[in-house]
Every structure is written in C-alpha cells, then in structure tokens.
C-alpha cells in the first residue's frame, strides 16, 4: 500500500494524473488504429471489434441520455432500428408523396443519402417521443419507452411486405469492395471513426452549458427550472440528439458494415437491457466509461463462447486429451449477470469509475469535501436538535 501511495505521489508531482490519462487514451487509440494491420488477426476478430464499436456508440449515447440527462429510456434500440429500417426502405422503395404526386425513385439515392434520411427520421421520431415524454419521469418514462420500443418491433415483425418480417431488411451496402480482407479493414476503420466522432460530439455537448443544464435537469427538474433552465427544450433536445446518433449508427452498421440486414430480433427489450448493462458496468455517468464498458463486455462475451479448460494434476479424458472445450452458450450471460449484480451492489458508478476519477483527480477533491464539511455538519446537527 505504501508503494502504491509513493507511485501515486510521484505521478502527481511529475506528469500529473490528467496528462497520464490522456497519454493512456492516446495509446489505446493507437492500438485500435494498429489492430487491423496486424496480419495475425482474423477477419472474425475484426468483426468482433466492429460490433464492439457499434455497441460502444449505443451505450455511450444511452449514458448521455440516462446517466447525464436523467432520462431513463428503453427506446434506444428502437431509434437505432428506425434509422436502419428507414435507410433500408428508402434504398428499396424510394420516397413517394402520393397526395402531392411527387416521388423520388430508390435509384436516386446513394447509400449515404439513405443513411442521412434514416438519421433525420430517427431524430424526428425522437422529437415526437421527447415531446410526449415531457410530463413523465422515472418508472413511467421507462414504461412508456418500453411500450414504444415493443410497438415498433412488432410493427417491423408483422408488416412483412414492407419490412421483410423476421427475415429482416437489407440496406444498400455503403462500401462496395470486392476483396473481403480489404473490405473488413475499411469497415473496421469506418466504425471506429464513427465511434470517435460520436464520442467527440457527445463529449462536446456534455461539457458545454447544455451538458450542465442536462445534469441540472437530471438532479432536480423543478430546481433546474427555477434556476432558469428551459427543461422542456433540453429534454427534447437530448432525445433528438441521441436518437440521431443511434439512428446514424444503426443505418451505417446495417449497411453491410457490421451486419448485412436489420432484423426485429435486434430490437427486443433484451438487447436494450444489454445496452443498459454495458453502460452500467462501465459507468453510466461517463461517456468514455460506458463506451469502454460496452466494448470490453462485447469482447468478453464473444471470447467466452468457447472456454478451453485444461485438466489439472495430469488428468486426461477418455480420448486421451488433457483439455476440453466448454461451449458456454447462455451461461456466459449468467456470468455477465453476476458482474452486473456485483457492480450495482458494490460499485454503482461502474467498474471503471474509480479509474476515471483517479485520472481526473476528483477522488482527491471528494476526500477533502468530507473533511471540510465535518465542522458545519456538527453545527447543523446541534441546530436541528435545538429546533426540535
């Protein structure tokens, strides 16, 4: 313990925690840039990373919505689905305004055009849902968004002629690269770039006056309102902003970048629960924490599909092998559940929170707070006793 304290002091006195944190972040980014160039990495590994980037966008944007703005929504996957389905429908059918006699054929739209329309429609639906949710808080907000999410999923499942039902809907491929290895590499960088751009955009919002107002709203809507914050505007704004982010991520991911088609199964409440779980494990009040939580969780869930167990003490199986493969199936989710229970019970700010606060230096400030408040606490207790 003494050694750790000395290392901590040495860091504080030399480079400083914050700078060390930025340096570490830089190294992590360099690792992700290098990874697909490593010849030993398979396309499967790159696919796992692409999926990790996608879920990192989903969880970090949910962290902005729920962790920072306090809007505990279950509709995030539905907004992602809106972005993807709209992009797919526009790519297949174009846009027709029958009453005006105007139509734009599907061929007129590029893949990027369909993604933009999918993103805008996701934002538009976010606007409507945000407006409908204005008077709802906590459990009611969660129930409303579950209902909305299920309604959308069932619509996509049952309107087979339009959406392809359970078979899903293909979007226009965003990249058309014949070579599979090269394609995977470009897809990897595209998804990684999207994650970085989304994180930067969200980080900018979270650290701007808007972010301050969102956090005030999370803490106490009435108090924020009494302090001059237009709660209605910021509530709608955060819904529109996060809906557009996940709509964009969905439209790109399912444009044959991470997956070749969007299926209603992706919109199930279970999938939404996973997004929330990733954010909670990483730290739902931290965009980086939630993104890292999602990426690491996705990677570990994938790595745990097959676990090789070596037998100890020279034991062998009847076939002579000294190890066997355990196909974990649903059990890996059980392990994930245990981690979730542990996090909620002992580390409610997420497993990465201590690391993030250490690098930011906030833990020092909090220790000082406790010491500083003690004097006045004692005085207040005396005052309370005398009032009674």
């Amino acid at each position: 313990m003494a050694i750790l304290n000395r290392i901590e002091s040495a860091i504080d006195e030399s480079i400083g925690r914050r700078r060390l944190g930025y340096a570490l972040l830089g190294l992590i980014i360099l690792f992700f840039l290098w990874f697909p160039n490593d010849a030993s990495q398979s396309n499967y590994a790159k696919t796992v990373f692409i999926s990790g980037f996608f879920y990192a966008i989903m969880s970090s944007s949910w962290a902005l919505l729920a962790g920072i703005a306090g809007q505990f929504s279950f509709g995030h996957m539905a907004f992602m689905g809106i972005g993807a389905y709209v992009a797919g429908l526009v790519a297949r059918d174009g846009i027709v305004f029958a009453s005006l006699g105007i139509g734009i054929t599907a061929e007129s739209f590029s893949a990027i055009g369909t993604i933009i329309i999918g993103t805008l429609i996701a934002g538009l639906v976010g606007l409507v849902i945000g407006w409908l949710l204005l008077r709802l808080r906590s459990a009611y907000l969660a129930l409303f968004t579950i209902a909305f999410s299920e309604l959308f999923r069932i619509m996509m499942l049952t309107e087979y002629d339009y959406t392809g039902g359970s078979n899903g809907l293909s979007l226009r491929p965003l990249l058309q690269i014949a070579d599979i290895d090269a394609a995977r590499q470009v897809e990897y960088y595209l998804m990684f770039a999207l994650l970085i751009v989304c994180l930067l955009a969200m980080y900018w919002v979270a650290n701007s006056p808007i972010g301050l107002f969102l956090r005030a709203m999370r803490e106490d809507e009435d108090a924020a309102s009494a302090l001059g914050v237009n709660v209605v505007r910021y509530k709608i704004l955060v819904f529109v902003f996060t809906s557009m982010i996940v709509g964009l991520a969905g439209a790109i991911f399912y444009s044959d970048v991470g997956s070749e088609r969007i299926i209603p199964e992706q919109l199930e409440v279970l999938q939404m629960s996973l997004i929330i779980a990733y954010a909670v494990i990483g730290g739902m009040e931290s965009l980086i924490g939630a993104a890292a939580g999602a990426f690491i969780s996705r990677y570990l869930l994938e790595a745990m599909r097959e676990v090789v167990i070596s037998l100890p003490l020279g034991l062998t199986l009847p076939d002579g092998s000294d190890a066997f493969v355990w196909e974990t199936g649903a059990w890996r989710f059980a392990v994930f559940g245990v981690v979730m229970v542990f996090t909620l019970r002992y580390m409610r700010n997420g497993l990465l929170y201590p690391i993030i606060t250490w690098f930011s230096g906030r833990d020092l400030a909090m220790q000082e707070t406790v010491a500083k408040r003690d004097d006045d606490d004692d005085l207040d207790e005396q005052a309370g006793a005398s009032d009674e």
């Binding site: 107002f213 999370r218 309102s225 009494a226 302090l227 001059g228 400030a365 909090m366």
Partner: protein, 244 residues
C-alpha cells in the same frame, strides 16, 4: 405600474374541492422587505409556486416588472426577474458547488464569458463564506451550507424579486447570521424580498411589511406592529374562543 415589481390581482388556486389560494391581491415594490406568515396549510407555498411559475393560477393575474407571467413556465418567470428558494433545500447533489452556481449564471446570461461568470460565482460564494467548498459536490455539503448555496445561486440570476422560503430552518445560529447579512445586503442592493418563515422573531426583525395568509386568503397586509395586534391575525394563530 412602472415602479411595481410584482403585482398579484385576485389570484386563486383550487385543487379539486380545496381552495388553496383564495383571491389574493398585493403588490411588491422595490426595495421592500416583506414577511409572509401564516399557520401550516395557509397557502404560503402554493402562493409561492404560483408566483414562481411552478403552478398555474385557477383565476387571477400576476405581473412581474410590467410583464404578465401567470401561466408562464418557471424558467421564463425566473428569467423575467423572480428568484426563489425552496422550503426543503434543493441543491443539485451530484454537481459541484461551482456548477450549481454556473447553472443559473449561464441560464440567465448565456452569452457571458464563462470566466466572468466563474469570477462572479467565487465572489458570491465568498460573501456567503462557502468559497472554500467551490469544487466540492453539493451532496457532500451540510444542510446549512446547502441553504447558503441556494441563496448564492439566486444572486447569479440577478433577480429583482426574491422569495426566500424558510431560509433559517435547521440552520446553526452562526450560519443564520450569514443569512441575515445576506438578506440585508440583497435588500440594500435594491431588490424586493419576500421572506416566508415560521421563525417569528426573524420575520418581525427583518420585515418592513407583513402579509398574513389564512385558509388561502390574505387576511392582513401592513406594518409588522399593526399586523401583530390585528384581531384577524390573532384569531388565525390562536383560534377563537368557543364561547364567542
């Protein structure tokens, strides 16, 4: 009407069968320091919520600095120049003291330089003797320190009318003294203050004028000494003799 900061005209609020506020009319001109008293359930908090935009009146009109504000949302009323504190302190717990100050600062002056607002926040926190807690989470503050923080946030709004709801409740005498000084200073700066408190000594000592509510109605409005001897007020607080 140009000298009037706040004008209530026959304001009422009904919740189902309960008449919480009953045709209340009064005006506040700066720099008045007004006490508002009444037994529990008299309608003080409801009236505060009506004035600050938290509730919409059933009938009646409210003007603030010449602008009609009844039915307007709370943030709009705040920006129009009315600031309030809450009976139970509502510090933004998982935000630092400085962030608590910056919320009203940025809401009120969105184009101001952040550094200027931070400087102003430090100045106010210094006045309230809690500048040493600037970077601490407000959930970690003591009850008294939170009261001071609420008062500090009000000054960031630069309101012309301030409603203080039970500012002395549960606060140590040393911090109460700071609040006294705050009230005097804000009043000297030319702001109108409505002070709601069950601490009669404080109300009578500080106020130049008293409003007394009973069953939602305004039963007295005048100088503290005159109100003290008003039979309607005495009856509201002590009840009437059953033999009468």
């Amino acid at each position: 009407m140009s000298d009037i900061n706040l004008l209530l005209n026959r304001v009422s609020k009904r919740f189902g069968g309960n008449q919480a506020v009953d045709h209340v009319s009064f005006s506040v001109t700066k720099p008045e320091l007004i006490g508002m008293i009444g037994p529990n359930g008299a309608g003080k908090t409801t009236l505060t919520n009506l004035m600050s935009g938290m509730l919409k009146p059933t009938t009646g009109t409210i003007y603030l600095n010449g602008r009609r504000i009844d039915g307007h949302p709370a943030y709009d009323v705040t920006r129009a120049g009315l600031g309030r504190t809450f009976q139970i302190t509502r510090a933004l717990g998982r935000m630092t003291v400085l962030e608590n100050m910056m919320v009203p600062g940025l809401a009120h002056r969105p184009r101001a330089r952040r550094l200027d607002l931070e400087e102003r926040a430090h100045e106010i926190l210094g006045l309230l003797t809690i500048d040493h807690l600037t970077n601490e989470y407000s959930r970690a503050l003591s009850g008294g320190q939170r009261k001071l923080l609420e008062l500090g946030r009000l000054l960031m709004l630069e309101p012309s009318v301030i409603i203080l709801d039970e500012p002395f409740a549960g606060v140590h005498p040393r911090l109460q003294e700071t609040i006294y000084q705050y009230i005097h200073r804000v009043h000297e700066d030319g702001k109108a203050i409505i002070l709601i408190s069950h601490d009669m000594d404080a109300v009578f000592e500080l106020s130049h004028r008293l409003l007394v509510l009973h069953h939602g109605a305004l039963i007295a409005d005048g100088a503290p000494q005159a109100v003290r001897s008003d039979p309607a007020v005495i009856e509201a607080y002590l009840g009437h003799d059953e033999d009468d």
